[in-house]
Amino acid sequence: MNAIADRYRDQGVGSIFLYTHEAHPGEYYPHLTSMEQKLRHARDLRDKLGVTRPILVDALDGACHRAYGSMPNMSWILTRSGVAIYKSDWTDARSVENAIAYFLDVNERRRSGERLAPFRVERLDFRNQDRDAFYTGLERNGPRAVREYRAAFG
């Protein structure tokens, strides 16, 4: 996702990471109880995971996150006028890049004189499932995060 932000920045595409809440609280990164703690966790995420996009932090009650569906790692694309034009319940860089390339092409087609009208489409995209990487992420939060995930999903 960082690479997509770099590739499309000069074409008018902004990218942010919006820090929400600890989906898998553990001994090292427990559930959130204050904005100071939330900012500290977000800072650690930036440094440990290497997020180079601007990081924004949601309110402690997750007002923004909840309004958009509360999924732990979803992505949305919004226009300059505040219209939602893409949403995915899980973040996949290939899916996001495919969408952003399409929308930039729409702008080109409009500039060249095509008259375009929006329509709705549903599509099932596919992402890599890297369980080892996922468990490594859980371990970062603490052994309890791993135990609870295994208990919930095996």
Binding site: I55, L56, L138
Partner: protein
């Protein structure tokens, strides 16, 4: 639900279905083609020398700067 209850429920202290499942509401998220909800957000990184973390902005202030804005929601896991 009081604000305190909401804070506790949203920031659940253990990953058990009774505490996390009710938050997975993508099917009830705003439809595409309509206005995106706007909320206050806080910058993690200072804007410049002398500035501090936690400067308030809004999602609309961000999306209004770009033709398109990609928003990835997440945390450590």
């Amino acid at each position: 639900m009081t604000n305190s209850d909401l804070l506790t429920r949203y920031n659940y202290d253990e990953f058990v279905p009774a505490k996390f499942e009710s938050w997975l509401r993508f099917d009830h998220s705003p439809p595409l083609g309509g206005p995106a909800p706007d909320f206050p957000l806080w910058h993690l990184d200072p804007a410049g020398r002398g500035a501090s973390s936690g400067r308030e902005t809004s999602l609309s202030a961000i999306w209004s700067h770009h033709t398109y804005t990609i928003v990835e929601f997440g945390s450590f896991t």
